[in-house]
């Protein structure tokens, strides 16, 4: 809805910022097209007839006096079938279509709708003529690739009596229902990215968000609809964690936001996700994924918007009654985009040059996660879980972005370069990480996996704590000077680190660990520790304990294909039973 030809013209261009005159009628956050090429920009400030704009595309070569055209609406994203499996940039343009338009390199001014206009979807209505519909009601469904049922909803703010409903082959812009007042409803709807989508009620976090990663599910679990910050210096494995979760976490839909990260990584994600199967549904991981991509060399303003765009898409799937997960990699780049734009606006800087509204923006962003009762009928629940990587400069967590996220996130998975150097992956520091959801989630795991889950978790945490204390002592007196029971503890902790906390993202059998396997490995490691203590109590010396074979058996169990698990578990048990040759047969396996 571009307005009448205006006299608006550019009066300044610097970096991602532009200024224009003749903008008296503009509104804040309104979209405009600038220059002869029609680059997309957003109004940030209005003073008299002057407006300050942030430009979502590269501004090199844009001249003063080029025209500015108002679009009349804020930045919005098209939501509908066809989103799953797509790769879009920070303002919602599909990158594949942009390549068709401008070739291998991204050039400004290209334009393509988020969802392919040529695609046809089979719409199956579930409402009939004469039905009264409210906002959020399911109008009908579309079956997407991989068997995903896409629910077409009455957009927020709309209601009325169905005057006509049109099933069958539909394009994304086609009308699928008409209300008595003449309003038409389509397969898709648009929503302004900076505004959270409404829901009927917010629910508490009571169900675990299964990540398939042992250290998270067992030690620092998060809830469906929860938020977690994952800070870590470079090389600590943030991206590998985000990717592992995107592949294996129990979510119906994953929105992966590559915010200011590497181009090769995005190519890798695309390649991998198309090839990999979701372990639970057997469909390609890409078929449940929407990729929002703004690599570090793409325009900085679109980096700021990419996070909101991704969250809006996740909320849309939440509103259909699905469990959506958002992987934001990384929020530091989002914050830096705020800083860059704020500094060009000559705003008064806060800490480390970041704008003073960094904390409040970060809080608002996190609050878009949550588990809700969706609007409309039939009654359903949905969730948005937010896993955000943070890249603190120098790995120092006291910096403003990490701190702003920690104040609002429900959990911290702190990555440690020391562990990464030891190649202990995921390099999650178990001493500083925490989860505010752990008690609730513990109860849930006790009920669904094993009644002993929480107790075992407590025992492992205790073991790791004592391990840290003992290692400090050992670094002064040497490990040889420790008592046998302490040396046993150090070994048991090393085994827990290796087979429970350590997990290879690249081993096809170990990349995803179901909770039952996680529990089994933790339990077996604790059993070994107990058996060792019993043996020492009966007169064994540490040197007599045959720990190495148990350790190898545990590692084999960890890496065993699903079919071999029982055999390998029996082997572990047998090895624990023969831990000490001097032991009577019942020495092992007691707990």
């Amino acid at each position: 809805m571009s307005s009448a030809p205006s006299s608006a013209k550019l009066t300044r261009v610097v970096g991602a910022l532009a200024e224009a005159s003749g903008m008296r009628a503009a509104t804040l956050n309104e979209l405009v097209r600038i220059g002869d090429a029609g680059l997309l920009a957003e109004v940030l400030r209005i003073t008299g007839d002057r407006a300050t704009l942030q430009v979502f595309e590269e501004t090199m070569g844009v001249s003063l006096e080029e025209p500015v055209v108002r679009e009349g609406s804020p930045l919005a994203v098209e939501l509908g079938p066809g989103l799953l499996g797509s790769v879009i940039d920070g303002i919602g343009r599909p990158l594949g279509d942009l390549a068709t338009l401008t070739g291998d390199f991204l050039l400004p001014g290209a334009n393509a709708p988020t969802i392919d206009r040529a695609r046809r979807f089979t719409f199956v209505p579930v409402v009939a003529r004469g039905a009264q519909v409210q906002q959020g009601d399911v109008l009908g469904t579309v079956l997407e690739r991989g068997g995903f049922e896409h629910r077409v909803l009455v957009p927020p703010g709309r209601q009325g009596i169905i005057a006509g409903v049109f099933g069958g082959e539909r394009g994304i812009e086609d009308v699928v229902a008409r209300l008595a007042d003449g309003t038409t409803l389509g397969l898709s709807q648009r929503w302004s990215v900076r505004r959270p989508r409404p829901s009927a009620a917010r629910l508490d976090a009571s169900r675990p968000f299964l990540t398939g990663q042992r250290i998270f599910d067992f030690l620092f679990p998060i809830a469906e609809g929860g938020t977690v910050a994952v800070p870590g210096g470079f090389g600590t494995g943030k991206t590998v964690i985000e990717q592992s979760l995107a592949k294996y976490a129990e979510a119906d839909v994953v929105v992966y936001i590559g915010c200011g990260e590497r181009g090769n990584e995005m190519a890798e994600v695309l390649h991998e996700f198309a090839r990999l199967k979701d372990p639970r549904h057997g469909r390609a991981v890409l078929d449940r994924t929407v990729l929002v991509v703004n690599t570090s060399n793409m325009p900085v303003a679109a980096r700021e918007s990419s996070v909101y765009l991704g969250l809006t898409i996740a909320e849309y799937f939440r509103d259909q009654g699905y469990r959506a997960a958002v992987m934001a990699d990384s929020l530091s780049r989002w914050a830096e985009a705020l800083r860059e734009i704020g500094s060009r606006l000559q705003e008064m800087p806060g800490e480390e040059g970041y704008p003073t509204y960094l904390a409040s923006r970060a809080a608002k962003l996190h609050e878009r996660a949550g588990r809700v009762t969706c609007l409309g009928a039939p009654k359903r629940e949905g969730s948005v879980t937010l896993i955000s990587a943070v890249s603190p400069p120098g790995g120092d967590f006291s910096e403003p972005v990490t701190q702003s996220c920690l104040r609002v996130a429900g959990a911290l998975w702190a990555l440690d370069p020391e562990l990464a150097h030891q190649r202990q992956f995921p390099a999650v520091d178990w001493h500083t990480s925490y989860s505010l959801y752990s008690d609730d989630m513990g109860r849930a795991f006790d009920a669904t996996v094993d009644p002993d889950w929480s107790k075992a978790r407590g025992a492992v945490l205790d073991l790791l704590q004592r391990d840290a204390e003992l290692r400090e002592v050992a670094s002064v007196v040497g490990p040889e000077a420790l008592e046998d029971k302490d040396r046993l503890l150090l070994q048991a902790a090393a085994i827990v680190r290796e087979v429970v906390l350590g997990q290879s993202a690249f081993d096809p059998n170990d990349a995803y660990s179901p909770p039952a396997k996680t529990y089994r490995l933790a339990r077996a490691s604790l059993d070994l520790f107990e058996a060792g203590k019993v043996a020492l109590g009966r007169g064994a010396t540490f040197a007599e304990l045959e720990l190495a074979p148990v350790r190898r058996a545990l590692a084999t169990l960890r890496d065993a294909p699903a079919g071999d698990v029982e055999v390998k578990a029996a082997e572990v048990k047998a090895r624990i039973a023969s831990l000490w040759r001097g032991a009577r047969s019942e020495a092992g396996g007691t707990s």
């Binding site: 070569g61 390549a99 120098g394």
Partner: protein, 468 residues
């Protein structure tokens, strides 16, 4: 990109300060527009508009502004963006950071002009890097494998032989199947001595004829440092994606580049970020480093080997820190190893190649490469920890396994990392590693399977048999 305007000429600038010249209301000035500033009786200075404004535009001048009188100059806005002359004929040439000849030959005509500020590669058009590059350096090929299309920086410290390492790699690097290969070397603010060392090695090894050199030396204008790597990368992209060459780009030294960036930011009175570097340094560095990669349906590739000096060996300094967040790993040089005469003095513990897994294994190097590297890494890490412990508790306080690891650590540094100027094939590297592993008792080899060790034993027996 909008069509550019015609050239316009103005007389007199409003102000000049350091590398910046301020213009009154230059009509239709475009961001990034190329400008020449001529003072009577002097050679014209080149510059670029970095802030286009109705009242005031800012020009960043590439050349030295010494003696410039703003009121008297003539300013020509060319109507064009900054471009680089590119072409295959540039191979064998030495040019300045601005693209002027440095070898006494006439300016290159080239085949095409390519925008200096290259557009970002569409991520959906990228091919995930997966081809092994044999650098001839064991600590890289074996432990931190370089892959085509990767950007792998060398983190060095003052006085460490980073340039020698780069020169060695350039001399030795081989494409796996002998595909056409070229080098683009970009010196950024490097000294005369460094330049000479590098050029002499280049000339001696015959690498010069397959190379393009862009040289901005310490005495050259600072702002030219911002241009030099972009000249180099534009040229590399052309050679790779138009001519299908596999191009290795060496950028030395990124620290000088960042300092030039800071100088301009300070001149513009921008709000400084950490240690005075501008807040957009991450984005700016990314606009260089992200110009590495492989493109679908195109035969060539751009691989980057940037070199940076960590001030005071501090890896948390903003320059190595931001670089590490953008690049796909890092090769870290160690002062301690250098002091002990080990070349190349690569510390493999903090070093990392993120793309290693994609470049090694079956059909690339050998199937057991990953396990081999993991095992050596694990023992070396353990030995390094033991080395620290020895200082406190003495060797007697170590467990027998720690003592064995300590011994192996010594050998690892002397036999695997140290190789002097000699080139090692990947087979020689792997064998050197196996010879270390052979000395370790089974119980310490937690990362290797019985089958793998049996295969190794069979190989040794066979070799012994042949030898006998």
């Amino acid at each position: 990109m909008s069509p550019m305007r015609v050239a316009r000429t103005y007389r007199g600038a409003r102000a000049a300060a350091g590398p910046l010249v301020y213009l009154n209301g230059a009509q239709r000035a475009a961001l990034g527009e190329w400008v020449t500033i001529t003072a009577p009786g002097q050679a014209p200075l080149r510059g670029q508009i970095i802030d286009a404004g109705e009242q005031l535009s800012v020009v960043q001048v590439l050349e030295d502004t010494l003696g410039l009188a703003p009121a008297g100059v003539e300013i020509a806005l060319t109507g064009e963006l900054a471009n680089a002359v590119v072409g295959k004929e540039l191979l064998g040439r030495a040019l300045s950071g601005a693209g002027d000849p440095r070898d006494g030959l006439p300016p290159p005509i080239g085949e095409a002009l390519r925008p200096l500020w290259g557009a970002p590669l569409n991520p959906t058009r990228r091919l995930p890097p997966s081809d092994f590059i044999e650098t001839g350096i064991s600590a890289i090929d074996g432990m931190n494998t370089l892959v085509r299309g990767q950007k792998l920086p060398v983190f060095s410290g003052p006085g460490l032989p980073a340039l020698e390492l780069a020169a060695t790699i350039v001399e030795n690097a081989r494409a796996p199947r002998g595909e056409p290969f070229a080098v683009v070397f970009c010196g950024i603010g490097i000294t005369e001595r460094e330049t000479r060392t590098f050029l002499d090695r280049f000339a001696a090894s015959g690498a010069l004829e397959r190379s393009v050199l862009y040289l901005n030396q310490a005495q050259d204008p600072t702002i030219e440092r911002l241009l030099a790597p972009r000249q180099a990368l534009a040229c590399a992209e052309h050679l790779a994606f138009v001519h299908g060459l596999h191009v290795l780009v060496v950028l030395a030294d990124i620290t000088h580049y960042c300092e030039a960036l800071r100088e301009v930011a300070a001149a513009r009175e921008e709000v400084p970020g950490r240690r005075g570097y501008p807040g957009y340094m991450y984005t700016d560095l990314a606009s260089l480093f992200e110009r590495a990669g492989v493109v679908k349906d195109k035969p060539g590739s751009v691989t980057q080997l940037p070199i940076l000096t960590m001030p005071d060996d501090d890896i948390t300094h903003p320059i190595p820190d931001l670089t590490g967040y953008i690049t796909e790993g890092q090769v870290v040089l160690s002062r301690e190893l250098h002091r002990r005469g080990i070349f190349p003095p690569i510390d493999v513990l903090p070093s990392l190649s993120r793309l290693m897994n994609a470049g090694i294994g079956k059909d690339r190097t050998v199937p057991e490469h990953r396990k081999w590297a993991d095992q050596l890494y694990a023992i070396y890490a353990r030995g390094r920890e033991a080395r620290m412990m020895v200082a406190i508790v003495g060797e007697a306080g170590l467990s027998p396994a720690d003592r064995r690891a300590l011994e192996l650590t010594e050998s690892f540094e002397r036999e695997l990392v140290h190789q002097g100027p000699k080139r090692r094939t990947i087979q020689e590297t792997l064998e050197a590693g196996w010879r270390l592993i052979d000395r370790v008792p089974r119980e310490d080899l937690l990362k290797l399977s019985d089958e793998l060790l049996a295969t190794r034993q069979a190989q040794r027996d066979e070799a012994q048999h042949k030898g006998a």
